[in-house]
Symmetry: C2
Subunit: 421 residues, 2 copies
């Protein structure tokens, strides 16, 4: 039986949907359907419970609602309680159920509903909810260990350094906690974030949030490579779900790295990158392709033909110059120039209206997952920030880094279980 919120209302009314039922429903979670560019993603559910959090190597959905929270309580129990409540709600919502057992129209009519209702009747839509903990959760800006976890902060979880050219706005950066909500229907992603925010009232406060669409990566070989707002295929050489050995090497925190509570987890880096699309659009095709190091149509590396051909950085053109320039984006970012470092990119395009100066406020909401930001994202971005000609067309305006714990395996575990013990 595939169950959606509409069916759930009936069951909730008869008291038939409890935590155990939810777990059972979620455990039988359907297969994930690969998504091709220009084809809408699946309406089915992605399993919530598992050794790894969903929303990382699971196929990219069409829409993102990313949210970062500040914790406003100083009471550890309240925070742990909320993480428990959130986990239960996340298990339900990812299965296509209401956030709470009474639902949007159940419960006492004189009480506020325990779901906000805008996803009533909508299918699970591939919803994934992925949680992360920021450095400030372990020790706040004033150096205070609010929740008695300062000594559990992973060595790998450091605030990112300031990179050359950064134009970071503090109000849309950082946060004690983050949740990446991805779904094939934006209403479902927005509904999930909003209900988490509602459940968190008094304990957390929304610090910033961002909507995205259209994907700027593929996380599976079965997904056609989508395009970013520079019009180029993005994600061709992404770390993909099928590369299981590489995932172990570059993505998931192994026992050897520790701390114990992060084993099987990973680290998220987010960067909101404004793209000056109007300037880009006045640049010649040759120049655009030289900046990226790939052709615009097919997406093949310069000097070669097909999208998935290996880049040949030694190749020279008729003029004796390298086919892929010394400061082309794909050369600078290539593992061979970065001690073998690879990233799992999982970003989205965004348009936040216009900027009041006649330009669209558009760009790429970059998200990468990696085993150790300081050895992967940071050195690559150091290189890009210094040399990438693309910098003339982009501005990094927000930044965040978060420790994403391993998955919740069953209904008696929760998002904070490994961290708070």
């Amino acid at each position: 039986m595939r169950m959606n919120r509409r069916t759930a209302i009936g069951l909730a009314a008869t008291g038939a949907v409890g935590a155990a039922t939810t777990a059972a429903l979620v455990a039988q979670g359907p297969e994930s359907h690969p998504v091709a560019a220009g084809q809408h993603g699946s309406a089915a559910a992605v399993p919530f419970y598992g050794d790894r959090q969903a929303g990382i190597t699971t196929p990219m959905q069409d829409h993102l609602h990313f949210v970062a929270f500040d914790v406003v309580t100083t009471k550890r129990e309240q925070l742990v309680d909320l993480l428990q409540t959130w986990t239960a709600a996340a298990a339900r919502m990812t299965a296509g159920l209401d956030a709470g057992t009474l639902g949007a129209v159940g419960g006492a009519p004189e009480a506020p509903p325990d779901d906000t209702g805008e996803a009533l009747g909508l299918p699970p839509s591939g919803l994934t909810l992925t949680v992360g903990f920021g450095p400030s959760l372990f020790r706040d800006a004033a150096g205070k260990d609010r929740f008695g976890i300062a000594d559990r902060r992973p060595e790998a979880l450091q605030e990112l350094p300031r990179f050359p050219g950064d134009a970071i706005e503090a109000g849309i950066s950082g946060g004690d906690l983050c949740v990446q909500a991805c779904a094939n229907d934006p209403q479902v992603a927005v509904h999930a974030v909003r209900n988490l925010a509602r459940l968190g009232m008094g304990v957390v406060s929304v610090r910033w949030s961002q909507l995205g669409f259209g994907r700027t990566s593929a996380t599976s070989r079965a997904q056609a490579t989508p395009r970013n707002l520079f019009g180029f295929k993005d994600g061709t050489r992404n770390l993909k779900a099928e590369e299981t050995a590489a995932l172990d090497e570059h993505l998931w925190v192994p026992g050897a790295d520790g701390p114990a509570w992060m084993v099987g987890g990973t680290y998220a880096v987010v960067r909101k990158i404004r793209m000056l699309v109007e300037t880009w659009d006045r640049t010649s095709l040759t120049e655009q392709e030289a900046i990226v190091g790939r052709t615009k149509g097919e997406g093949g590396p310069l000097g070669r033909t097909n999208e998935f051909d290996e880049a040949d950085f030694a190749l020279q053109g008729a003029d004796g110059e390298p086919a892929i320039g010394e400061v082309a984006h794909i050369r600078l970012a290539h593992p061979s120039n970065n001690q073998g470092a690879r990233l799992l990119r999982r970003g989205y395009n965004f348009v936040d209206g216009s900027d009041g100066l006649g330009r669209l406020n558009a760009g790429l909401f970059f998200i990468s997952y990696q085993r150790h930001p300081g050895r992967q994202f940071v050195p690559v971005q150091q290189k890009l920030a210094r040399h990438d000609v693309m910098n003339e067309y982009i501005r990094h305006v927000s930044t965040g880094v978060y420790a994403c714990p391993p998955g919740v395996r069953a209904a008696d575990e929760h998002w904070g279980a490994t961290l708070f013990g």
Copy 2:
């Protein structure tokens, strides 16, 4: 043959796609598929050419990118030229082709491409582009008749009055021209607006723009009623495409109204309405339903059962009070309380991140089409602004009114043909 941008590249390279071909392709434009809530809209094309502009009574798509432009030239010919260029690009893009005949990867490599590329390979996705002219196009704020059309301004095209409670921001209001881009893929809607902006460089400048998702109305009886961010079904009693007599009475400008250039056109009112969803979510189900005048789950009028039951405003509850309160939204907005006035609503939900105060910056981007705003939108909104209890939970933050000319019937006509003669 259904043609997408990928096929088009090949054809463009061989020179096979000219204006005539485009027109032919568009004329054979496929059927439109009705969209149910929770089901993704069709990837097919909606015909561009016709007596009426598409994007009004055609089925609502899943995504919106609305843009308003200021005209920055004072030369009438430049403006008319742009309207011609835009119309050709709109005919192409709605058919799933590149904005220009050379395309994103055709043309001279040392020139900027004549399409920005991010929709390469994507199907038409139901894209519609609907143009409107604001009052300031006819006479600017300084009273100047920049383009020699002041005497062509329709009597019905007046700036909207200030309503009680309005919190209008000038920077996201008005504009000389507007384009409503709707599509079932946000990347396709964004691509269209961006290419129109690109083509308009030096002639127009983006004043403001807004993304929306999820629909807050149905425009056809075949569309299931979607939900707004208060969690209620929205669009139940909307003016629908099937009500052909009512469309003639309430929507399309008849010969009797004039001016001649607007016959077969209509007027758009847009209002960006911020919804204080956090406050709403703390309100009881009873109170929410009383404010709207309908049940949250089924969406039936209070005191009756099913969504499409007629509201009975005389009905009393056991307590002797009216089942639908005196100031319930659906009573205040009902045609029987507004000299029979009806609107075709075609709005979208929006979330613009958060507001820096711990709240989502969410709401409803209200769009209504009508034959005469002063006799339809304005009196209804006067009543709502004064009496609607919903006002405690909403703020109107932007406003615009635009004259939308009749449709472009063939490739030798253009968006400005009736106005500029």
